[in-house]
Subunit: 469 residues, 2 copies
C-alpha cells in the first residue's frame, strides 16, 4: 500500500525519516542533520555496495582535505562561477583572520587536481582512478530537505580519473555509467539516463550524463552524475604528462558522484504506508526473529530460537526478545523495513516449522525447519527481485510520451511524472518549454526521428522533461 | 635495525610517510595532508579493529554535523576557553555574512549534547553509548606534523556516553580504558596510562586518563584519552532524565577519543631503517608473493603461483608480477612494511617448497607447500607476537626512575625517555619541574610511598614526566 506516500509524499517522507530513525532533523543548523545509529547502518551497507563496485573496477580510495584555499578554488573560472553562491568560507583561525580564505569543499576538483599535477608524470601511470567518500558543503538558499537538499552533504562519493587520451576518458564515462547502473540495480532503484542540456552541465565539464529517478510525487531526483571534463581542468591546473612520443600533453579527465540522495531514493522507491522497506542486500537486519511465548513454553521457545540463530548466523539477523507484545514488535520492524520476519512459537516447534512474513508483500506462510538457511536465502532473493520489479514498473508508469506541450505540461503539473518528446535543439524552443514551469531534464540516447514539441520541426533529438527536486 | 630511526627520528618519519605512500604532504594548506591509497588502506584496517572493539562492547556508530553554531559552542565556559584559540570559524555562505558564525568542530561535545537533551528521557534508556569517526579541525599555531599535529585531523574516533549514576560513568571509564588497551595491544603499540594533572585535563572534564607511547626520540605522544565529564556538560546543556524515583536529574557523562596519532604510533613503534613494518592484523597486504622467473620456467612458475594464490586466498595477499628484478620488488615491499614475503621459483617447485622471509626479523627459510595456509598463519601470529614484544621492550627501556631532578632532567634532555618520580602534589613543586623544560605527563595509579623529587616531602603519589609532542 503506497497510498499515503502517493497522496502526500513530503509528509510521508519526513515522518518516516524520523520514525524509522534514519536522521534526526532537530540539529540546530539549517540543512544539517544527525544520522541515527539505525540510519547510519543503512548508509554503511549502501556504501559497502558502492565501494565494492568501485574497488572491483580498479578504483582506489584516497582522502583529500576539506579545506581548499581560495587561490586554488578560484582558478577555474566556470567552476567558481557555478559554485560561488554556494560556498562556505572559513575566514578566521582562533581569533585571527586568515591570510587566505579557505573554502569548505562543495566538491573536490580544486583540492584533487593540484595533487594530480604532482602525481602524474607519464602515460604509463594512467588511467589513474581515485575516489573518496567525504562530507561536502553547499550553502543552499532553497528549502532544505533531509538527504535531498542539504547544507552538509555527509555522504559524497566522488571519483576522479585521469587519462592519456580522449578515447580513454570516453571509455571511462562508459565504465562509470555501468558501475552506477550496477549500484542502483543492486538497490532496486529505477532510473533514467540522459545527457544534461548544455546550460545544466557541471561547471567546467564538456558534458554531463545524469541518472534521475522519479519520486512518488512525480518529480525527478538527480541521483548520480558522470562528467567528461575533457582537458578543461587539466589546462587550468596545468596537469601534463609525457605521451608515448615523448611530448608533454594535458591529461583528459572524468569525474562522477553519488550522494546521500541515493538513500533518499532507496526510501522513496520501496517504502509504503507501514514504513520503510529495505532491500535485503543493504538491510542492517535482513531477518528479525520474534519468539512467540506462552507461559509454560518460554524456555522451550528460547532454546529453539538459539538453534535458529545458529542456523541463520551467516545472515544479518536480530532476535527481538523485548518483553512486549508480538504485535508491537511486528509494527516496529515494519517501520524499520526489515525484509523478512520469522515467528517461532510452541506449535511451530511441534510441527518443525517457522512462520515467515515478507515485508514487501505481507505474504505469510509456514516454512519447514529443514534447510531453513537456504529457504530464507531464497525468500530474500525473491524479495530483492520482486521489490526491484515493482519499483521499475512504477517508474515506467510515470514516464509519458507526448507531442503536445499543453498536454505535457498538464501531466507534469498533475504529478504524473516525466514526459518524453522531440526537441529541435534550439534554445528558444527550450525556453518555451521552461516557461510552462517545466525543466528540460536531458537528452536521450535514442535513434529516432520525430517532431519538436514546440516548433514541430523535424528532429532526431528526444528529451525528458518534468519537475525536478 | 632502528639506527637511522633512533638517531634522527624526525627525518626518518617524514621520509617514510612519503616513501611508503602513507600521506602526501604537498597539499597547499599547512597541517592538511592527503591520504594516498596505500595509507588509506592502513587507516581502513586500523579503523576496522577499533570499530569492532567498540561494536562488541555495545557502542553504536552515528554521525553528527561538522558545523557547530557559536551559540551552542560558547555555552560551556571552560570548554570554549580551552578551544577558542584553535577554532576555525565559518563566517560567510556564498557572498553573504552568516547571522550566526559556525565553528568547525574541534571535538563534538557541543554538537552531540544538544541532541542528547532531546534523546534522553528516562534512566531506562541509559547507558547510551555513541561514537563517530569524523574529521575535526584545530588551528594549530605550533609546528605541524603529519598524523601528529594537524589542522585537519582526518580520523577522529570520538565516543560519548550518558549514564544514570556517577558509578555507572565510573564503570564506563574502566570499559573505555579496556577497549583502548585492547586496541593498542592488537596493533602492538606499547603505552603507559596515567591521570593527567588537573591543569592539563580536558576542558570541562572532572578528570582525564591518558594513554601515552614513547617515540624513538624519547618524547611522549598522547595517543588516547578517556574523560569523566561528571555532570558538567549535562548542566550546561540541561540534559536531564527521570530517575527510578520519578525525579529529574542531570545525566553523568564520559567521552573518549583516538585520532590519526594511533597510525603515527604504529609507524614509529614498528618501523626500521628499511621502512614500515605493519602488524599482520592491519596490514593491507599480509603476504606478498614474488615469482622467481627464469626464461624457460616462467609459465610453470606462473601456474604454481596461481595455485598458491588459491591456497592462501583467505589472507590478504598480493602477487607482484611486475616486469622488474626480484631485488627491486623486495625493496619496494620492505618500504611498505608487508609482514611476510614468499618467493617461488623453479627449484622451490621441484622441492615442493616456498621461500618465506619475515619483514620484522629478516629471517629467511624454506617452508613446505603442504599445509601452506596454516604455516603462513602461524608465521603471521609469531610476527605479531614478536613485533609487540620488541616494541614493548623498547618502551620499557625508555622508562626510568629517579629521585633527583637534575638527573631526571638530563635523562629527558638526552632523549632517554620518561622518568617516574614522587610528587607531593603541590603546584609549586610541579612548577619547579616544568622550569627544567619537563612536562608532568600524569599521575600513576600505583600504591607507593616515596619522596617528592623536588621538596623531598613524603608522598603517596608518583608521576611520569618527560617531553611531550
Amino acid at each position: 500500500m503506497r497510498e499515503k506516500l502517493e497522496n502526500n509524499f513530503s509528509e510521508w517522507y519526513n515522518d518516516i525519516i524520523e520514525r524509522a530513525q534514519i536522521l534526526d532533523i532537530r540539529y540546530p543548523v539549517k540543512g544539517n542533520y544527525v544520522w541515527f545509529p539505525y540510519g547510519f547502518k543503512v548508509r554503511k551497507h549502501v556504501l559497502r555496495v558502492l565501494r565494492s563496485l568501485l574497488d572491483a573496477t580498479g578504483h582506489q580510495e584516497a582522502l583529500f582535505p576539506l579545506l581548499i584555499p581560495e587561490t586554488e578554488f578560484a582558478k577555474e573560472a566556470k567552476h567558481i562561477r557555478g559554485f560561488e553562491d554556494q560556498v562556505y568560507w572559513v575566514t578566521h583561525g582562533g581569533l585571527d583572520p586568515l591570510n587566505v580564505k579557505l573554502a569548505l569543499r562543495p566538491t573536490s576538483e580544486t583540492a584533487i587536481y593540484p595533487m594530480f599535477k604532482v602525481w602524474i608524470r607519464s602515460h604509463a601511470e594512467m588511467p589513474l582512478k581515485i575516489y573518496q567518500v567525504v562530507n561536502v558543503f553547499r550553502y543552499e538558499t532553497k528549502h532544505t530537505r533531509p538527504l535531498i537538499r542539504l547544507r552538509e552533504i555527509t555522504t559524497f562519493k566522488e571519483a576522479h580519473t585521469a587519462h592519456a587520451t580522449k578515447e580513454d576518458a570516453e571509455r571511462q564515462v562508459g565504465e562509470a555509467v555501468d558501475v552506477y547502473k550496477n549500484f542502483f540495480d543492486t538497490l532496486g532503484i529505477p532510473y533514467t539516463i540522459t545527457r544534461r542540456p548544455d546550460w545544466d552541465k557541471f561547471p567546467g565539464a564538456e558534458y554531463t550524463t545524469a541518472f534521475d529517478t522519479i519520486f512518488p510525487d512525480g518529480k525527478a531526483l538527480q541521483i548520480g552524475t558522470v562528467h567528461n571534463l575533457g582537458q578543461n581542468f587539466a589546462k587550468t591546473f596545468d596537469v601534463t604528462f609525457e605521451n608515448p612520443e615523448g611530448e608533454q600533453e594535458h591529461i583528459f579527465q572524468t569525474c562522477y558522484g553519488i550522494s546521500d540522495r541515493c538513500i533518499a531514493a532507496l526510501i522513496a522507491a520501496h517504502g509504503d504506508d507501514k514504513g520503510l522497506c529495505i532491500p535485503p542486500d543493504v538491510a542492517p537486519i535482513q531477518c528479525v526473529i520474534i519468539p512467540i511465548w506462552f507461559k509454560e513454553s518460554q524456555k522451550e521457545v528460547n532454546r529453539e530460537i538459539e538453534k535458529l540463530k545458529e542456523e541463520l548466523k551467516d545472515l544479518r539477523i536480530h532476535v527481538d526478545d523485548r518483553d512486549i507484545r508480538p504485535g508491537q514488535k511486528y509494527f516496529d520492524w515494519e517501520i524499520k523495513g526489515v525484509p523478512l520476519r520469522l515467528e517461532l512459537g510452541p506449535r511451530d516447534i511441534r510441527e518443525n516449522k517457522v512462520m515467515a512474513v515478507r515485508r514487501d508483500t505481507g505474504e505469510k506462510g509456514s516454512i519447514s525447519r529443514k534447510d531453513i538457511k537456504s529457504q530464507v536465502q531464497e525468500i530474500l532473493l525473491n524479495i530483492t527481485k520482486d521489490m526491484k520489479a515493482r519499483a521499475q514498473k512504477e517508474l515506467e508508469g510515470k514516464i509519458h510520451e507526448s507531442g503536445d506541450l499543453e498536454e505535457a505540461a498538464k501531466i507534469i503539473k498533475d504529478g504524473g511524472g516525466i514526459v518524453r518528446a522531440g526537441w529541435c535543439t534550439a534554445k528558444a524552443c527550450a525556453e518555451e518549454i521552461e516557461k510552462k514551469d517545466i525543466t528540460v531534464l536531458g537528452l536521450m540516447d535514442e535513434d529516432v526521428t520525430t517532431d519538436c514539441i514546440v516548433c514541430k520541426g523535424q528532429t532526431k533529438v528526444k528529451i525528458q522533461m518534468g519537475k525536478s527536486y
